[in-house]
Structure formats: structure tokens, C-alpha cells
């Protein structure tokens, strides 16, 4: 099957990629565009390390053929990281030690971003529901929940 060009908006810029059918968004991001903040923990839809936002919704980029998001808006962790300093969610993760090995962090941060965008003041239950698809083998989730609550406070007072 021949490759074709797929165009979409990535972190505010229009991009075009030439891909074989069924190439995943994860592969496009990591291997074609060298944006490696989006991780690759399983490529089975089981770990959440590859989470990106598509039109503001968290999606597992390892399960998403890039053709399916043609013309849509994709945001990765690179897209929310300021040139200097940190996004308030990143700052909250940093300050609350919600990172150990850090491999789950990009995916978790994107999920929290999507949650806080639509629900600026979530309950602990809502945060747990949001990150239920993200495996963190190191932290035991407790610091992640604290960081998410802290991030919500920071964004509201900002």
C-alpha cells in the first residue's frame, strides 16, 4: 500500500507527514518528528505513557492511526512546555516529587492538563478517574494526586 500525506496541527503549527497506512501518531511523533516527550511503554494501549491531546481530549497515541487525526489539533508535552520555566502543572509535579523515574510523567501530565482544562476544580475522585489508565510503577500515585490538586490551585490563582 502506498504512503500518503497526512496534515494536522501539532502544538499550534501545521505539519505534514508522509506515512504508510496505519502508522500510529506515536510513531509519527517519536520517529518522524523526533518529539520524544511522548513515551512508548507498551504500544498496547495499556500504560498511558503515550498520551497526547487531540482536540483537547487525552488519547493514546500508540493506538491512533495518524490518518484518523488528519486536520485535527494535537498537543504534546512539548506543546505546553514554556521556553523558560515550567507550566503550572509541571511545576506542581516538580514541587510535589510526583516524579521518580519520570517515564510515566509526560502521559500523566497530559491527562491532568485535559482534566483541568475542562474541570478546573476536580475532586480527588475525578483526578483518580482521569489517571486510571496511566501506569506509574514508582510513586504509588499519592504524590501524583497531590500534584494534580496543587496544579488546580495554582491555575485558579494564576
Amino acid at each position: 500500500m502506498p504512503s500518503r500525506i497526512v496534515a494536522f496541527n501539532l502544538n499550534g503549527r501545521d505539519v505534514e507527514v508522509m506515512v504508510k497506512p496505519l502508522t500510529t501518531l506515536q510513531t509519527v511523533l517519536r520517529e518522524h518528528l523526533h518529539l520524544t516527550a511522548t513515551k512508548s511503554g507498551c504500544r498496547q494501549g495499556g500504560c498511558g505513557t503515550c498520551t497526547v491531546l487531540v482536540n483537547g481530549e487525552p488519547m493514546l497515541s500508540c493506538l491512533l492511526p495518524v490518518e484518523d487525526i488528519a486536520g485535527q489539533k494535537v498537543v504534546t508535552l512539548e506543546g505546553i512546555t514554556p521556553i523558560e520555566g515550567l507550566h503550572p502543572i509541571q511545576q506542581a509535579f516538580f514541587d510535589n516529587y510526583a516524579i521518580q523515574c519520570g517515564y510515566c510523567s509526560p502521559g500523566v501530565i497530559m491527562v491532568i492538563k485535559a482534566l483541568l482544562d475542562r474541570n478546573p476544580n476536580p475532586t480527588r475522585q475525578e483526578i483518580m478517574d482521569a489517571i486510571a489508565g496511566n501506569v506509574c510503577r514508582c510513586t504509588g500515585y499519592e504524590p501524583i494526586l497531590r500534584a494534580a490538586e496543587d496544579a488546580a490551585r495554582r491555575l485558579q490563582s494564576a
Binding site: G46, Q100, M128, V135, T139, G140, E142, P143, L145
Partner: protein
């Protein structure tokens, strides 16, 4: 159907260092022209925070600000040998090597400062803020940037140090098992509180409360991170995880996170801990090590709590709902409940 509550305790020791010793680590330190201290290693940070903790130990011993210390790891061309990050050894072994290297570098640093300030090195001390001063008259001082510049361009001296730590390898007596397997022992006691659903066999861990004794904590936030993360992993081992659900049968081996069951944020129990500090004699600043043990003690505490809840002694983990339902068939408590109902 009923929910049965139970409490269980476990008290454990955990040995630090590669079994039987023979596991060296080295560190090299040098100051740049402007007074940044580079600690070269080949040690690995698994996420526990080694790079941070080692920088703290280095800065403390050198007597310079934390920000002035860089950790350069892990590269076999530039970093000296390290046995690796395992056996709760890294902070203990690498920390000791760094202290030794930092003492040597500090000595060189004070010697240069002594020349500049025209005093004896013994009369000097560091303020940890980037200055070396004359004891008793703190206004007579030199900052480390000026000092490092002087060392390089005026005196032609390196400010550097070498460090190595090894607990020599010891043999095991094959007849009696006499051996010296560890450098020190850390300890923990965990109290678990659980609720068992007699209908589904599911266990909810309500709380894991623990006291840890880990020698000195170099970075309490990172130690706390190990305790919480370890408690969660221990709970996961006790109740969920297995690559052979019907061990010894090799069937049903999981191949993905949807088949290998690990709890998520919803299963997070209330976790509370206190940390006691009884510094060890041979650890850097009294460190014992905390990496592995935090996942150990919760397992028997939870299993004991479930046994306590259902009144049947469980002797294997993970205690999956299936195993609990089978055990419940033998439970006097459940029989009692059924009789009360009829």
C-alpha cells in the same frame, strides 16, 4: 454478604549492600576554573533520586553550596567504576566513595585558600554558602570562584579528590553458613488495615501505617517517596501480581498491562509513616538505605490482616479474590455469619 475487617502487623529487617560484599564503587571529583565541583561516577539513577542524594553528600563534605556540585554519570569512559544500583547499595557505597573523594578535594581547596589568606589550613572552615573563612574572624574569607581561579592560574594546583568504597568480599562456610552478608540493617514495622468482601473475595486495603528506621535520611522527601511507592508495590504484590496465576502451571502468562494486574489510583490506601534515624556506623553520614525494603513489609502485614479478617490463615501471595473465596469456605467467621442469618 458481609464486609470483614482485619488488622495485621509485620516487622522486618533489611540488609544493605551486595550480598557478601566485594562490590566497590568509586568517585572522582574535580573543581572547574570557576569553582564548580564535578563528581564523576558511573552509577545509575533508577528514579529513586541517586543523582540528587549524591550531590547533597558531596556538597556537605566539600562544604560548598549544593548548586556548585554537578553529578556526571553514567559513562564508562569518564566515570570510574561502580558495581551498579541494586541491593539498596547505591547511596551507601557511592555516598562513602564520594565522601572520601570530597575530603581529599576539600583538603586541596583549603590549602589553596590558606595560601591566599596567609593562614594555616587548619584555621579555615567553609560556610556552605560558597566561602572559605578564617575561624573566629569570618570577615577574612575568599569565595570559591576566586579560589578556584587562583588554584588554576596562580598556583597551578588541581582541586580534586579520589574516593573508593568496598566492603571486601567474604566467603560463606559451606558447612555452617557462617557469613557476613551485609553492611548494616534497616528496619520497618507496618500495620495494615483491610476490609474483605465475603461475596466477591475482594480486599480493600484501608490503611498502611509504618515506622521505618533507615539510618540517616539524606533527603526526607525522597525517602518518603520510596516509602509510599514501596507500600503501593507491596500491596500490589500481596493482592494482585503474578506471572503464573495458577503457579506452578505456566499457563495464562500475562503479556500486557491488561492481563498483568496492577492496582491503580483507586486502590491507593491511606499511607502514613514515621521515620526514625539511628545512623549506622559505616554508612555515609549514617545512611543505611531504603530502596528495596519498603515493598517488603507491607506484604505480610496485608496477608496477616486478611487472615485476621476472615479467621483463616493464608500462606501464599498474591491472595487473589479466588483464593480468598476458597479460604472463606473454611472460615469459622463466615459460618457464624451464615448461621446468624438463618
Amino acid at each position: 454478604m458481609a464486609k470483614l475487617r482485619g488488622t495485621g502487623i509485620a516487622a522486618v529487617n533489611y540488609p544493605t549492600g551486595m550480598n557478601l560484599g566485594g562490590d566497590p564503587s568509586q568517585a572522582l571529583i574535580h573543581a572547574t576554573t570557576t569553582g564548580t565541583f564535578v563528581i564523576s561516577l558511573s552509577s545509575t539513577d533508577l528514579g529513586q533520586g541517586l543523582k540528587t542524594v549524591i550531590a547533597q553528600i558531596g556538597a556537605e563534605t566539600l562544604g560548598v553550596p549544593f548548586e556548585n556540585v554537578l553529578i556526571d554519570t553514567a559513562d564508562t569512559d569518564t566515570g570510574p567504576h561502580c558495581m551498579g544500583t541494586f541491593a539498596s547499595r547505591a547511596t551507601h557505597r557511592v555516598g562513602n566513595a564520594v565522601i572520601m573523594a570530597a575530603k581529599e578535594a576539600r583538603k586541596a581547596m583549603l590549602e589553596v585558600a590558606a595560601e591566599e589568606l596567609e593562614v594555616s589550613p587548619d584555621d579555615l572552615d567553609t560556610d556552605g554558602k560558597g566561602n572559605i573563612f578564617v575561624k573566629g574572624s569570618p570577615e577574612r574569607k575568599i569565595d570559591i570562584t576566586s579560589l578556584a581561579l587562583a588554584a588554576h592560574f596562580k598556583y597551578g594546583r588541581t582541586i580534586s579528590g579520589r574516593g573508593m568504597y568496598i566492603k571486601p568480599k567474604s566467603p560463606v562456610d559451606p558447612e555452617t553458613g557462617k557469613m557476613d552478608p551485609d553492611s548494616t540493617e534497616a528496619h520497618a514495622c507496618v500495620v495494615a488495615e483491610v476490609e474483605v468482601d465475603t461475596e466477591t473475595g475482594e480486599v480493600t486495603v484501608i490503611s498502611l501505617k509504618s515506622a521505618y528506621e533507615v539510618g540517616r535520611q539524606v533527603n526526607p522527601a525522597l525517602v518518603h517517596g520510596q516509602i509510599v511507592g514501596g507500600a503501593f508495590m507491596g500491596m500490589s504484590h500481596a493482592l494482585y501480581e503474578t506471572t503464573a496465576p495458577y503457579y506452578p502451571s505456566p499457563d495464562h502468562a500475562p503479556g500486557s498491562f491488561s492481563e498483568y494486574i496492577i492496582p491503580g489510583p483507586h486502590e491507593l490506601p491511606h499511607i502514613e509513616s514515621v521515620v526514625l534515624e539511628y545512623p549506622s556506623v559505616n554508612g555515609p553520614y549514617g545512611v543505611k538505605g531504603v530502596g528495596e525494603m519498603t515493598a517488603n513489609a507491607p506484604i505480610p502485614a496485608i496477608v496477616n490482616a486478611v487472615s485476621n479478617a476472615i479467621g483463616v490463615r493464608l500462606t501464599e501471595y498474591p491472595i487473589t479474590p479466588e483464593k480468598i473465596l476458597r479460604a472463606l469456605e473454611k472460615s469459622p467467621k463466615v459460618k457464624q455469619l451464615a448461621e446468624n442469618r438463618s
